[in-house]
């Protein structure tokens, strides 16, 4: 898919030349082991570096320049995958050939180099005013998780399951750690990121590979660095088991169930488990959707996700809280059916076709190409979409039965509304 060039030790460039899009897409990713402290520092850092640069020293100045350059997109982002934290610089600009009189691609590369290498500083440190404001913005973002009950419930589930693992660390950091940050600390985090992080640069669009490689090399001079390696076995802490219910002021019950599995990303069973999850609750034809929603009319959504880097499968459903036990039982029954080998040829072939479609479809956007490739490129034996689809083909109902036996329910979490006072007094 992508042509890989090693720019120096720990810095790689991936270019995909294609005429499919009307834009060029860039993504520069800095990668370090995930910790709550690091995530907090970098969430604020990402915001500061999105705000302004030395060349465009205010938010309005930078945004005006982007507007003038035909609405070139520029943004930073933070995320996590497995035990790693990512800070990315992203840009997308219109293909010069559609506009004619401009050199938008070169300008965009210069802008990215400015954003990464020449931040908006005062006396060698981030401006206090910018720092304070962006720290507040990240704090607000972290706090607003509370307002989204579905995301909140999922985060609670992960925290209860793996209290000390990367599962429960948010890529945007933690409130108390964010509060304690100073411009100097974040400046220090910036220096470490530029000097020590593993770096991956992605380009997708109608580019000349050689020309783009040399302009990027010229724009960014990174020193060689040794990529950090994660410890063999990550700490997880003692997770909760059984059932936990919590209350907030809300109407719907959010039922989130955590299952653990020893089948991890990149193992031999990994493609089989992707299929097993698809049959369980990955699609509108899956067992959860057909039974919890269509047959019992208990939910609008009932779905499962496979968090393959963490060895977890989570199920979520929005239900009437009074029916939580019934729903939990129904969900268990679907897994039981899979363990008993109740998997039809139709279910199996539908799920294979849907997974293949999902993967091929995702590749029809430039960001999708980068995300998918970045996610799968470390698989043993490398990654091509068709090669990966071929791994699902031979999976049998018997394999699914075996996978279902490797899924163990660990915790049932229910977030629901407060009881009416009449009930409490009854």
């Amino acid at each position: 898919m992508f042509t890989e060039t090693r720019l120096t030790q720990g810095v790689r460039l991936y270019v995909r030349r294609t005429e499919q899009f009307k834009t060029l897409t860039f993504s520069i990713r800095f990668k370090q082991p995930l910790t709550a402290e690091g995530a907090s520092e970098r969430a604020v850092l990402a915001n500061i570096l999105e705000d302004s640069t030395e060349t465009y020293p205010s938010r309005a100045a930078l945004r005006q320049a982007l507007e003038t350059m035909y609405g070139t997109l520029y943004y930073t982002d933070v995320g996590k995958r497995g035990g790693y934290h990512y800070l990315s610089f992203n840009a997308e600009c219109v293909d010069d050939r559609l506009i004619r009189d401009e050199d938008i691609a070169d300008w965009t590369i210069r802008l990215l180099a400015d954003a990464v290498l020449r931040p908006n500083l005062q006396d060698g440190v981030f401006k206090a005013q910018v720092f304070e404001r962006e720290k507040q913005t990240v704090l607000e973002r972290v706090r607003s998780l509370y307002d989204d009950k579905t995301r909140y419930a999922q985060h609670r589930l992960l925290t209860l399951l793996r209290p000390e693992g990367p599962e429960s660390i948010r890529a945007t950091g933690e409130e108390t750690l964010l509060e304690a940050l100073t411009p100097e600390k974040v400046m220090e985090a910036y220096r470490r990121m530029i000097g020590e992080d593993e770096i991956e640069i992605y380009v997708v669009g109608a580019v000349d590979e050689e020309a783009i490689t040399s302009s990027l090399k010229e724009a960014f001079h990174f020193e060689g660095r040794v990529p950090a390696v994660l410890p063999e076995k990550a700490a997880r802490g003692t997770g909760k088991e059984g059932r936990i219910s919590e209350k907030q002021n809300m109407k719907q019950g959010k039922l989130h169930i955590g299952f653990s599995t020893p089948v991890m990303f990149g193992t031999e069973d990994f493609p089989k488990m992707q299929l097993a999850n698809g049959i369980f609750g990955g699609f509108p034809h899956s067992k959860l959707f057909m039974n919890v929603r269509e047959k019992e009319s208990m939910a609008y959504y009932a779905a499962s996700s496979y968090l393959s880097r963490y060895g977890l499968i989570t199920v979520s459903a929005g239900i009437d809280a009074d029916l939580a036990d019934k729903a939990t039982k129904l969900i268990d029954e679907q897994l039981e059916a899979m363990r008993a080998g109740e998997i039809t040829d139709t279910e199996l072939s539908q799920t294979k076709a849907m997974l293949a479609n999902q993967l091929r479809e995702a590749l029809d956007s430039s960001r999708g190409q980068i995300e998918i490739f970045d996610q799968y490129k470390d698989l043993p034996g490398g990654f091509t979409p068709e090669g990966w689809i071929a791994k699902w083909e031979p999976v049998t109902a018997d394999d699914i039965r075996e996978m279902a036996g490797k899924i163990d329910r660990q915790l049932v979490y229910l977030l629901s509304g407060k009881e009416e006072s009449a009930d409490e007094n009854a």
């Binding site: 609405g71 706090r143 307002d147 109407k251 269509e294 929005g318």
Partner: protein, 432 residues
Amino acid sequence: MKMLEYSRVNETLYHETLPNGLQVFILPKSGFSKTYVSFTTRYGSIDNTFIPLGKDEVVRVPDGIAHFLEHKMFEKEDGDVFQKFGMNGASANAFTSFTRTAYLFSATENLYPNTELLLDFVQAPYFTEETVEKEKGIIGQEITMYDDLPDWRSYFGTIENLYKEHPVKIDIAGTVESISKITADHLYECYHTFYHPSNMLVFAVGAVDPEEMMDFIRDNQAGKTFDKPERIVRQFPQEKMESAVKEGSLEMDVSKPKVHVGIKLPALAEEGLEGLKQELAYQILIDLLYGKTSKFYTEAYEEGLIDESFSTDFTAEEGFAFSVIGSDSAKPEELTKKIEDTLQWASEKFPFGQEDLDRQRRRRIGFFMRALNSVEYIANQFTRYAFNGMNLFDTVTALEALEVKDLQRVLVPLTDEKARTVFTVKPPANGG
């Protein structure tokens, strides 16, 4: 089949109106593996008062029925339509808006079996009292899910207070109470009135051969019989420009208040290029007033009145238009004042000139080019514009024709104080 070339954006669109009145548009995109096909009827949540096909009297149907009908189209006597799309490896979906109901799939294989499935399932209604009753539980949970979303509640609370009579004020899914009254007969009546091919549009975009696809759809439609097309009579109440309620609020379990300022606007005056120009003039003016490079945004962000949740919205469909501006804010009253002061400031002396317009024009041209990377955007937006008598591919032409005076013209309704409402979602007074 007509071929329309849009050389500025390197796209070619194919079009035909079939004998039964169905509009078919096809846009091949090279390099794509998927094809996205949507089948849309010009029928949404606001169409609740109309003369049913073949009748003489106006009926008023329960709120939320267009959305309910959308759900029920997926269930057939021989099972669930999702299952069949699944067999073909296609991901199918549907959505209902104020004015449209769209059914769609995207697939990288089995294009024609999937297209056939889409056309056939939307053109073969199957409703029974039993299946209608069963759906009420599912949609009831969907409504409850939205009830817990503070951003949705705040946005809809704003629209609800803007309008006194117009059905745009009614939540698209209705309420648990209103859907309880829906019967299979209602669904058939709405279906027969609004799902006639002459009220519908097919858009196919992505990996598709236009000749082959057009032949396929033409044959499929030729094999079915439909009533003679009739003009659909829809009734909408008269609505004054003044907002119905000036201020409203709601308590929810949120970490920080949310506030939205709504402005009721006159519907777009014209169709075609002029309509498109007017819509773009509104969007550009709202960007200049409240966008990331505006005086308002810079100050409000510095003062901590807004955060990343700040957003502006402009909606225009046939018969209504409005704008909603808002954010999470620890100081909702101060933010409201600042939003309103900005309108006042702009109406005293028009603050924007040629340079501002040029910059926003360039931004919008770039935005449009980028959006053409998305087959979903093309199909959905093209359909929306077509139902409003406009052409999505006129966007660059309309942008280039815009002048500062076009912005000045749309400022007038935007600054009408009587047309405003303010809606706040507040954390519980006792701290929750």
